[in-house]
């Protein structure tokens, strides 16, 4: 009987000892039988190694970097993949037990599919789950080029939501350590879709850790890193599109940047409200830089006037920190053109 292909579940970890039990167990408890679990510790200073040690008897391997190598850790992770398929499971995320089985079944049936996304819910630091609307309204498979333009606007899923075919991953050039570390997944999906087809399972397949207060989000927004990195990511996609002649991707970039500029208006308001006029000004300049037309937008004009008059206290705004805001987003989008419904395979 043909042996099932090996699936590597790689768990990158940095000081997430409090979540590691859950992530490792979710990897070990997969209904799929041929799995290896490798924890890559990026020089944690907490008791992560002690946690992983409990699972060594069950075949879990842990590699500990001599020092924190930040984004370059992706290069190390890439080298750890020996399975025909793999999942990059962040140490604070959790897989549903049948995800690997379902995804591998699809990819074994359709060899041209390079990666399969499943759906997600959010889980906070206290274990409370926030249910999210699925991104698409059905399970489907589609040609990579059809899904490409969508990745210019959104990531659809984070790393724990994907089972990836290693050969497609190699063809796509593996991870790009030069990417913005917060957009590295999206960049990865984009390049995978350039070289392979895509499938989507409309079932909750992972729990993604989203603390109620995300300090990382605050930092990137408050240092003005966020808009520059996102603009850069969008334009990088355009660069790929030009190199490979994807006109539909190029068309989307302007829309993506404008949409993002609009989102930045929310940040500008937050900083007006906090009377941090310098940062608010940077955001308002960025918005105009990204979308020249916004100058005639009433909301934008209002913000600009408030900035000039320095009366930010009057601004009505929702703080951006509440991750539960995501729960209110309505999704259920129609899949991209030429998709093939896939309810039967799943």
């Amino acid at each position: 009987m043909k042996r099932k292909p090996l699936v590597s579940i790689i768990i990158p970890n940095y000081n997430h000892s409090m979540y590691l039990d859950q992530s490792i167990n979710s990897a070990l408890n997969q209904t799929y039988s041929n799995i290896e679990v490798i924890v890559n510790d990026n020089a944690s200073s907490d008791n992560s190694i002690a946690v992983v040690k409990k699972y060594i008897d069950q075949g879990v391997v842990v590699n500990k970097n001599p020092q924190n190598i930040y984004n370059f850790n992706y290069d190390i992770l890439d080298d750890s993949v020996s399975g025909e398929y793999f999942v990059l499971l962040c140490a604070d995320d959790i897989l549903k037990s049948d995800f690997v089985e379902k995804a591998v079944r699809i990819m074994e049936e359709y060899p041209e599919i390079g990666f399969v996304h499943g759906e997600r819910d959010y889980i906070d630091e206290h274990g409370r789950i926030t249910e999210l609307d699925p991104f698409f309204n059905c399970s489907f498979r589609v040609n990579g080029e059809e899904i490409l333009p969508i990745f210019t606007l959104t990531d659809i899923g984070q790393s724990a939501q994907a089972v990836i075919r290693t050969s497609a991953f190699v063809r796509a050039g593996k991870h790009d350590t030069q990417s913005d570390h917060l957009n590295i997944d999206r960049e990865q999906w984009f390049r995978l879709a350039m070289v392979s087809d895509y499938a989507y399972i409309r079932e909750k397949m992972a729990l993604i850790r989203m603390p109620e207060t995300t300090s990382e989000t605050s930092r990137i927004i408050e240092t003005f890193y966020h808009p520059i990195a996102l603009y850069h990511t969008a334009k990088s996609f355009e660069e790929w599109a030009k190199l490979n002649d994807y006109p539909r991707v190029s068309e989307r970039i302007e829309v993506a940047i404008k949409r993002f500029a609009k989102e930045c208006l929310g940040f500008a308001k937050v900083f007006l409200k906090r009377e941090n006029y310098e940062l608010a000004k940077r955001y308002l300049l960025f918005i105009r830089f990204a979308d020249r037309g916004i100058i005639s937008d009433e909301e934008y004009q209002k913000c600009w006037t408030i900035l000039q008059e320095k009366r930010g206290a009057s601004v009505e705004v929702d703080e951006y920190k509440k991750s539960s805001n995501y729960a209110f987003r309505k999704r259920n989008y129609e899949p991209p053109e030429n998709y093939v419904l896939m309810e039967d395979t799943i």
Binding site: F72, D75, G173, D176, T177, Q178, D180, R219, T223, F224, Y225, I228, A229, Y231, H232, K235, S236, E238, E239, W240, L243, N244, E278, K281, R282, L285, F286, R288, F289, R292
Partner: protein, 341 residues
């Protein structure tokens, strides 16, 4: 085991067949022994005959020239990474990264290697260069410093942002070690390696700067100026991420913060230089975007004379002549702690 070569020239080719000869002439004309040099062309799947031309050179100089051709076009950082992978069995002592059309004058390699042999701490030698315009005319650049000097980057990090605004340089690096290369890839993607400000990265080690012009580079105006500026801004934001997010008040932190602000001002001033260049093309919209970008990166720049004059010139549609000199200042003395030679 494998031979270790003295010097590797890595030339990135992207459909620039007509410029390859110029670069090869520079390499062939070096006073350094040819048997100690190697050229690797990294061809980004060119379709204009570049690859064929490279193969001709291989036939003519089989022990000097080699090539790696990508099967499909990719981005510069990936090309550089591929080059490093390709060279892993061909260790090198020194390396130079070139684009077709860049010319290294005959004595540079000998001089740079001599310096690095003399002082083992120098990780790279930078020199002044001329700018070759599209009509083949050469423009002399004023040297950044009045004297040749050795700069300790860790001590003088901010110097790269406070001096030589918009200046172009050429560099020879010590080795092509994997660790160093990761950082080079980083630079390649973000900061143009011919930008003086790019010499700041990585931030440790020492570099030598030569005031004499030892080569020329083809004038390269980015296709998308705003993307180019944003990419550099992204580079700086990443570089200073820790400085910007970790707040404490040690002396070291204060210095880092000052370096960061100098870097943001530097990129803002680069944007002003692009705004001035639009006078040739008449692209007012781009000029306005450059001003907006400059202010976004450095709010105080609106008080600078150059900014005010450019803004006025755009509004009144008058000449921007003479404004550039307010940003690009002449040669300055090296800092006191530098070794001058």
């Amino acid at each position: 085991m494998f031979k270790t070569y003295s010097v590797f020239f890595i030339v990135f080719v992207d459909n620039e067949a007509e410029l390859i000869d110029d670069t090869m002439k520079g390499i062939l004309g070096q006073t350094y022994p040819r048997s100690e040099m190697r050229v690797l062309f990294m061809d980004n799947a060119s379709k204009d005959g570049s690859y064929e031309k490279i193969l001709d050179y291989i036939q003519e100089y089989p022990s000097l020239v080699s090539v790696y051709r990508m099967d499909r076009p990719t981005k510069p950082a990936r090309l550089l990474k591929q080059a490093s992978n390709y060279l892993r069995f061909s260790p090198v002592h020194f390396s130079m990264f070139l684009h077709p059309g860049d010319r290294v004058y005959s004595g540079f390699i000998e001089k740079a290697i001599g310096l690095m042999h003399m002082n083992g701490e120098i990780e790279a030698v930078y020199s002044n260069i001329d700018i070759c315009h599209t009509d083949k005319s050469l423009e002399k650049q004023e040297a950044i410093f009045t004297d040749n000097c050795i700069i300790d980057k860790e001590v003088n990090y901010g110097l790269f942002f406070n001096t030589g605004i918009g200046a172009k340089v050429q560099a020879m690096f010590r080795g092509l070690q994997p660790g160093a290369l990761e950082r080079l890839v980083d630079m390649e993607k973000r900061i143009d390696r011919n930008d003086w400000m790019g010499a700041a990265f990585p931030s440790e080690g020492k570099i030598a700067y030569l005031t004499e012009s030892f080569g020329y580079m083809m004038e390269r105006v980015p296709d998308d100026v705003m993307f180019d500026l944003m990419t550099k801004a992204y580079s700086l934001k990443s570089q200073f991420y820790m400085t910007e997010t970790v707040a404490n008040y040690t002396e070291r932190q204060k210095k880092d913060w000052a370096d960061m602000e100098a870097a943001y001002k530097c990129i803002a001033e680069n944007a002003l230089l692009h705004a001035i260049r639009t006078e040739e093309t008449g692209d007012i919209r781009l000029a306005e975007q450059c001003l907006m970008f400059a202010e976004m990166m450095c709010l105080d720049i609106v008080q600078d004379e150059a900014y005010i004059l450019i803004k006025k010139a755009i509004e009144n549609e008058t000449s921007m002549q003479g404004i550039r000199e307010k940003i690009v200042k002449g040669s300055v003395e090296p800092p006191r702690d530098c070794f001058i030679f």
